[in-house]
Structures are given as structure tokens and as C-alpha cells.
Symmetry: C2
Subunit: 326 residues, 2 copies
Amino acid sequence: MTHQIAVIPGDGIGQEVTPAAVDVLNALDVEFEFVEGEAGDAVKEETGEALPQETRDLAAESDATLFGAAGETAADVILPLREVVGSFANVRPAVSYPGLDAVQPDTDLVFVRENTEGVYSGIESEIADGVTTLTRVITEEASRDIAEFGFDYAEENGYDDVTIAHKANVMRTTDGEFLDAAEAVAEERGADYDTALMDALAMHLIMHPEDYGVIICPNLAGDVLSDLAAGLVGGLGLLPSANVGPDNALFEPVHGSAPDIAGEGVANPSAMILSAAMLLDHLGYDDEGDRVRDAVEAVLDEGPRTPDLGGDASTEDVTQAVLDRL
Amino acid sequence: MTHQIAVIPGDGIGQEVTPAAVDVLNALDVEFEFVEGEAGDAVKEETGEALPQETRDLAAESDATLFGAAGETAADVILPLREVVGSFANVRPAVSYPGLDAVQPDTDLVFVRENTEGVYSGIESEIADGVTTLTRVITEEASRDIAEFGFDYAEENGYDDVTIAHKANVMRTTDGEFLDAAEAVAEERGADYDTALMDALAMHLIMHPEDYGVIICPNLAGDVLSDLAAGLVGGLGLLPSANVGPDNALFEPVHGSAPDIAGEGVANPSAMILSAAMLLDHLGYDDEGDRVRDAVEAVLDEGPRTPDLGGDASTEDVTQAVLDRL
Ligand SMILES: CC(C)[C@H](C(=O)O)[C@@H](O)C(=O)O
Ligand SMILES: CC(C)[C@H](C(=O)O)[C@@H](O)C(=O)O
């Protein structure tokens, strides 16, 4: 069985790390057909559109999508792509690897971020001169769905601690809905869980990441807290993510297009290759996913390393080292 | 000249740390009249109201207010109190002290948080069964005011780096307004500044806090990022804050009522005493403010220390040590 994978490198270092992930997938004993699509600043400059209809269609009809990064147009590309694949869950593991100089070396967290609403589904307007509003939306259905997903994920992946993040002391109705729905799911399942105000959680995660496992979050909270976790483990060059829907999914590094280092060939491909490992899991190739993760982990431990991790290796050197260990 | 100070200890450790701050203020050569007011869970249980009208009036007519903490009713107490004193700016310094085992020992940050709008001024409703909305409000006026305040603060306190935090790539109209207004202020003043997406900023602050100084934030971003900074410097027991308006102000530790340790007499009074130091600055007693900060810093360095900092001293021991050094 051949799996069609949409490959959308995008801008900046997306162009450099996406081929690395494709090389790794090609080295495995799984049949893939890769079909490339365009998106981002460059295609917008040419065509006026950051996300052409062909690329949307490609993502919709493929078995899964690998996305690199986009520049200024990031929101115009990634938010519609997440929708095109029907992804309601954004899964962001943040793990510290031995040998790297992490701020907190005992971090093993997975953010399960609601991917469809909150301020992201917001309708905005300037209702008077200098007065603007955004309507934040939280529904019981989406909140239940992400909670079910989060508790399933924790169970399947052996995490004992599940935390529901919220700010229901201020956003009483909306985050109140999120919290109530998520707690109802936990209670129906008889699952253990904690709840945490997102501000206090930000502090505790930094001081004691080892106290947490899976963290179920509203959309913007998940955005901010997962980047925070990237800071704990050594930077965005390490964090993969999966956008998961009922029948389709998109995999992307948490990092952006990094215009400061784009074109130099020194971007860290780890986050992108680890995103490809999540794609393998998703398609049912868990063993291959583990093989890729083990190879990346070994290279992170022993080198070569790109400059973001204090080394002077190139993207290609690191990719080759991962390939050598598969 | 005697200054009337409203003193509202509130719940939990608020009852323990507020007297410490009053003792410190009383030890200085400044005339204060302290008038106590009630607020929080306990008074709500008795009277049905977390923030009685007398307490509002007291805060409104005093020269400044010292507030401890509230429990479950925190939002019902602190949000109206911030409004009663007309505070549009919430100032939260986060500094690592030598000798403490901070996650990042080179942290010297000041969050200047917009204190009146964003999701905090939100009107919420359940518009259909299981469908809830919150209207987030951002105005040009409030955004300009907080930016002016932030740039003034940076200038007066010798901070070279000013960063405007936002999420305008998603909240294009509302955070777009915030960002445009703040950038316009910077440009009118000819001030140097940077802008940062709040998610990316969360990561960079953890890895490189030394790159930042004053951070001007929308309301919720300031809430989360300042707690994050508390995590970097050793916990909420250390962070004071000032809620500043044109003619009045309220000073409170960033921490809450800490029900887990309340009643044991071991709460760290540093955040509260440092809040009193900010009160001194605000009333024009900068030298006394510095004396208090120096005394707290010396005690943090040499002990005694409360359990949150790895010691076994009591609130009273620490307060006495601060008094001894004044
Ligand atoms: C580019 C932006 C719209 C996006 C988001 O906010 O979700 C990014 O920060 C991320 O987390 O993937
Ligand atoms: C208690 C709560 C309403 C408050 C806030 O969100 O502002 C608190 O978290 C704080 O930061 O002082």
C-alpha cells in the first residue's frame, strides 16, 4: 500500500528541513508517494495567494501532509491548512534529550491543544474609531473532543498526569465551558486529572516540569505554553507537532521559517524529522516511528549538532547522521 | 504629612504577609495611617459579598492600598479593586537575586501589563446550548496609555530594551490595534523598541531573559508572561506588583492566597514587602524604597529563608531579619 504524502516546504528554513524529513521517510521500508505543494510568502509574491487552491486540494486528498514553515504569511497558510485536514487536535510533545544543555533536563510533556476555536475562530471588528473587538468562541463539543483526545493520548502513551489548563476565573463562561466539558469527560471515564490556571501553570512548568505529563489546553494557551516548553528543552529546533483530525492529519515543526538563518544550510532538522516520526505513528507504523526517534535522539546526544545547539554542523550533516543510524 | 494606606490582607497567607509589610513601613521615618479593610472568601461567607462597599470606598479615598491575596474569590476582589483605584498599568518586576537557586540567574525584567481591557473587560454569554462567546476589547487609547507608561518606566529606571508583546498575526484587528498604537507611541518619542509574538517571547524569555528589559503587554499576555518570569527567578514568593492609576495605586504580591501553606506561618513575605517598597517609590520616597529593597535582597542572599526557597524559617523570622537590616 502506497501512502500519498503532501509535502509543503513553504518559506525560509522550511525549504531546508522538509527535504531532510522526506529523505528519512524514504530510507524506511514503507511505500510513500510524495507530492509537492506550494505555500507561503514566495508563492504569495508570485500569485497573490499564500495558499493556492491546488495546495489546499492536495492536502485534503493526501493521506497526510508534511508542512515546513511559512514567513510573514504563516497564519494565512497554517490556519487554513489545519482546517483543510479537519484537525481538531494539535499534539506537541516537548522532551528534553540527554546530552543537551536544557534549562530543565527532566521535561517530558505533551501539549494537546484545541485546534479550531478560542481566539483563533474569532470574528474581529473595529466597532468605532480606535475601538476593536474579537469574539472568542468556546463550544462544549470542541472542548469535549479535545479532552477525549487528550485522555486517550495519555492512556495510549503511558502518561499518568493529565492537567486541564484554563483561565476560568476570568473567562468564566467561555473557559468555564472548556473546563466543565473537559472535567465531565474525565469523570465519565473515571480518569485522574488536575486543573490549573494557565498563568500559575506557566510558573510551575518552569520550576517543576517533572510534575506534569499531558496538558489539555484551549487554543491560545496551547500555543503559548508549548513554546514555553520549547524554551525548557533547548529551543524550537526540537519540537515536532501533529495536527490530527478524524480522517487526515498534518505534521509540522513548532518552529517558523527563521529568516535570520534561512539559506545558510544550518537549520536544525530535528523538529521536522520528529514530525515525520509522528506521521509514521499516525499511519500505523509505530515501530518505524520509534526507529526514527531513536536515531534523532542518538544524534542529539552524540552529535553532530547545528549551531542552535552549540555545534557547527549543517542541516545535511545532521540528516546524514540520522540516516546512518536508521 | 500623613499618608492614609488602606490595608486589605484578604485570605490565606494574605493574612500573614500583609502585617509583615506594615511592620516594615512602620519602621521607616514616614508618617502612615493604616486603615484595615476586609475582602475575600471569609467576608463573602459572612456577608455574601467578597468585596464590601466599605472596602471599595476605603481603597478609593486612601492615598494607596496594600492588598494581600484572596482565595476562590480572587477575581471578584482584585479586578474591581484595580478598577476602584483607576489603575491602567500593572507593573511587575521579576529579578533574580544572587544566592537564590533561580532557573535563570540573569533575569531583570519588568512587565508593564495593560490593566483594564483585553479578555478582562470581556462580555461573555452562552449564545446557544454549549456555545459560548467572550468579546475581547482593545482600544487605541488604552494601548497608547500603557505604551507611554512603559516607555516612561524604561527611561526612568534605566532599561534599554523595550519589547511590545502581542499576537497580532492571529488577533489581527485587536492585537493589531495594540501593536500599532504602541509602535506609534514609540515612534513619536523616537524610542528604540522591539516587538515579539507572545508565544515566541515565552520561549526566548526562558532561554535568554538577559536579552529583555521592559515588556509592554496586553492584559492576559502580561498575566501569563509575568508568572512565567516568576518561574525563572524562584517562584511567586518573590514578585511584587503595582497597579498604577493617575491619582491612586494598589500594591500586591503576584502570588495568591496559597491555601496549601496558609496558617502555618511559613509564607515568604518578600513579595509583599517588595510591594510595600513599590508603594514607597510611588509616594515619592524612593530612598526608603531602595532601603527596603536592599534589606530584602540582603536577607534573600544570606537568609533566613522560608521553605519555598529551601529554608525552614518562618514569616516572622524573615520579617525580623529585614527589619534588623533597615
Ligand atoms: C503562525 C501562527 C498562526 C501559529 C499559531 O499561533 O498557531 C504558530 O504560532 C503555531 O503555534 O503554530
Ligand atoms: C486572580 C486573577 C483575576 C488575577 C489576574 O488574572 O489578573 C491574577 O492571576 C493576577 O495575575 O493578579
